[in-house]
Amino acid sequence: MFGEKALDLIRELHRSRDGTLGPYNEDVVRQILEEMQILYEANQEDVAQVVQNDSDQSSLTAIQVRHDSLQRNKRCLLAYLYNRLMKIRDMRWEFGSVLPPDIRRNMSEREVQWFSNYNRSLSSYMRSIGPRGLDLTQDLKPPQNVFIEVRCVEDRGEIELDDGSRILLKKNSMHFLPRSQCERLIRQGILKQVA
């Protein structure tokens, strides 16, 4: 049936609603485009025939059906692409400007291109805020206290804090540090906050 493949794509989107980005389904996209091409060509023929032969209106419904299928395919395809872009956009906010390799693998070339363009736009916007720019990906939660106690979950070696001092992050060591320094590391999973 026409439009089945397009529905598959939508189903795929629906299944991955939990936030993971599945691999870019190059095959199905290609198949849909091919189907559209076939439908279009068939329609061309029929329209030509109808134009030529004014009395033969029998293929009008067929033309209509094909036309609707084409529209549907187009809509589903665009929805698929758009929703993936939105997921990728969310990844930028979650992981920062460098994506983990296993997510990159699931993106098509053009999506990677889109991601870097988005990154660029976002960075230039953030830089333009206020006198020195403001990183909007920080401070995602209202701060409760200035210092928090954290426990180091994996070995990370030495890191440098904003005031110049260095801390050695060894597995299972516990630290009491300013919240702003820890936020990024907590999001990366290196530190864990102790209640």
Binding site: V146, F147, E149, R166, N172, S173, H175, L177
Partner: protein, 569 residues
């Protein structure tokens, strides 16, 4: 250098700096750590916590962190070793040592800068430390000259002057006296006041103490008593102080019922039964596994079990009740338990069945008494892991134990209690088999026994806290199991136990504990082990902060023991 004013000389100095806290792996140190954490959090002092299990780990962690921290606090470690010599720190690093191990290394005590010891202002303690002048002495220029001249062969008349000879003689006498003083001072190792107690007093002086911190201080002191690190009198005097603090912080309950919320920690003082974990176990199990009752009733014999049943019958407690979980016992039996036990105690030879203790209650949960907390945290610290996850597991023990102390009702505390039960069961079964087989031998100046690798639960024995608990249990039970004449002699004998430590490396761990009769708990094995090792050139490592626990290679064991016998005779 001794700190006289901990608030200004210690806390205010580190308040604006970043601090590295090195914590030894015993319950007292962990409690001190929790109190210190609370104080630091209050004042926004940035800190890093690092667990250290022995001297080499102390050195390693110091090497890794020395670039980043200028102020280092040592809890229950480093007091009895020469820190400057071992760590060789740069000039700007300061060490603040809160250690209950004694004797304090003299260099640490007399060093003017860099090493700061926080001690209780106990007259006796400080008096016990020798005078500065008897240990250190400036070289006189005359002495120096006389030294140099002696090497020359040129005979000058003034060398045989009375004055220089006199000086030389005096110097020799002084040096001999010095050796003697130091020897006396370092002969016995023992424990001073609990580190947790010291940190709690610091908090109190800053008026930042509260019930939670008091509970940690109580747990620290209870740890010392339970592991027989201090004798009863020292324990009682610490308890007296803690009582003072407790009544100060908890007295409001009496005036008005509604001042304290239900979910806050309430601490109460009581004369509690010295039964291990009895509130979390069944009464019968607890009686079988607690040191005083197990040794009095000799529960490893059938007669012993019968006597235990008799004891319970005397008290009027049906057996079914006693074998049930304590919380499901009938309330009127639970309420009368203490008085019943007291009455029947004398008849069955149970001495010191009651002791002074504290318990904490939070909300409507069951009460947790101090000794329960000590068992639980100790068990968590030494939790065993299967071979593959060994390294990963050991590191998280420290964090888990800290977690379990964080609240009285912490879920990890329950896990710890279960582990403690397993440990106590292992102890009891090992003790039973040892005494049955008669594996405890008298080597002359001390009693000796060895844990073989094939024994069940042998893995537990490689851990110091467990080994310590086991040794005391064993000594007590063994002495009780002897007849009257032998018992008198055995009471004055110390005990040495060796157990497999690391099967792959082929090492054994040895612990020595002082005799039962010695209330002061002064342990001479630290030095004895050192001498024995030197004499026989055994490959030993005296790594532990507690000098009476060492490890050595299996092959050197027998010659080491022979040397030990000779030294101690």
């Amino acid at each position: 250098m001794l700190i006289t004013d901990p608030v200004n000389d210690f806390f205010n100095k580190v308040k604006h700096e970043r601090v590295l806290v090195m914590v030894a792996l015993d319950v007292d140190a962990l409690c001190a750590c929790k109190i210190l954490q609370a104080l630091f959090k209050c004042d926004h002092v940035q800190y890093t916590l690092v667990p250290v299990i022995n001297k080499s780990q102390l050195i390693k962690e110091f090497e890794e962190h020395k670039e980043q921290y200028k102020h280092i606090v040592l809890l229950n470690c480093g007091g009895n070793i020469d820190l400057l010599h071992i760590l060789d720190p740069s000039e700007d690093i300061s060490f603040y040592v809160i250690d209950s191990h004694r004797p304090i290394d003299l260099v640490n005590f007399f060093c003017e800068q860099q090493i700061y010891m926080l001690l209780k202002h106990d007259e006796d303690e400080i008096a016990a430390i020798p005078d500065y002048d008897s240990i250190y002495r400036d070289y006189d220029s005359d002495d120096e000259d006389s030294e140099n001249d002696e090497t020359e062969q040129v005979s000058k008349r003034h060398r045989f002057d009375e004055a220089t000879l006199e000086k030389r003689r005096e110097r020799k006498k002084w040096e001999e006296k010095r050796k003697e003083i130091i020897f006396d001072y370092e002969e016995f190792s023992f424990y001073g006041p609990s580190a947790a107690m010291l940190v709690y007093e610091l908090a109190w002086k800053m008026s930042k103490d509260n019930n939670d911190q008091l509970w940690w201080a109580i747990t620290g002191v209870a740890d010392q008593f339970q592991n027989k690190k201090i004798g009863r009198d020292k324990y009682v005097s610490s308890v007296l102080e803690l009582q003072g603090h407790m009544s100060r912080l908890n007295h409001r309950d009496e005036d008005d019922d509604n001042t304290k919320s239900v979910n806050s920690v309430k601490i109460s003082f009581e004369h509690d039964l010295d039964l291990a974990l009895y509130r979390h176990w069944s009464l019968f199990e607890s009686l079988c596994h607690s040191l005083p009752t197990a040794s009095a009733f000799k529960v490893w014999t059938n007669m012993g079990i019968k006597r235990l049943h008799q004891f319970l019958a005397e008290m009027g407690l049906p057996l079914t009740q006693c074998k049930q979980n304590y919380s499901f016992m009938e309330t009127k039996m639970r309420d009368n338990l203490q008085s019943l036990v007291e009455e029947s105690a004398e008849k069955f030879g149970l001495r010191n069945i009651k002791y002074q203790s504290f318990s904490a209650q939070c909300g409507y949960n069951h009460r947790l008494c101090a000794s329960d907390a000590v068992y639980s945290v100790g068990a968590l610290l030494e939790k065993l892991y299967s071979k593959d996850s060994q390294a990963a597991g050991e590191n998280s023990n420290f964090v888990d134990s800290l977690d379990s102390l964080s609240r009285v009702t912490a879920p990890k505390m329950q896990d710890g209690l279960e582990l403690a039960k397993l440990q106590l069961q292992a102890i009891k079964s090992s003790v039973s088999s040892f005494i049955d087989i008669g594996q405890i031998l008298s080597y002359g100046p001390f009693l000796y026994t060895a844990v073989r690798e094939g024994m069940p639960d042998y893995k537990y024995f490689g851990k110091p806290i467990f080994l310590n608990l086991f040794s005391h249990f064993l000594l007590n039970s063994y002495v009780r199991s002897l007849n009257k004449t032998k018992r008198e002699r055995a009471k004055n004998l110390p005990l040495v136990i060796c157990a497999p430590f690391n099967v792959d490396d082929g090492t054994t761990i040895i612990i020595g504990i002082p005799p039962l009769a010695d209330e002061s708990r002064k342990n001479l094995f630290g030095n004895a082990f050192l001498h024995a090792a030197e004499r026989t050139k055994s490959r030993t490592s005296h790594e532990s902060f507690d000098s009476s626990i060492i490890t050595l290679k299996n092959e050197d064991l027998s010659k080491f023991l022979d040397a030990l016998i000779t030294i101690m005779s």
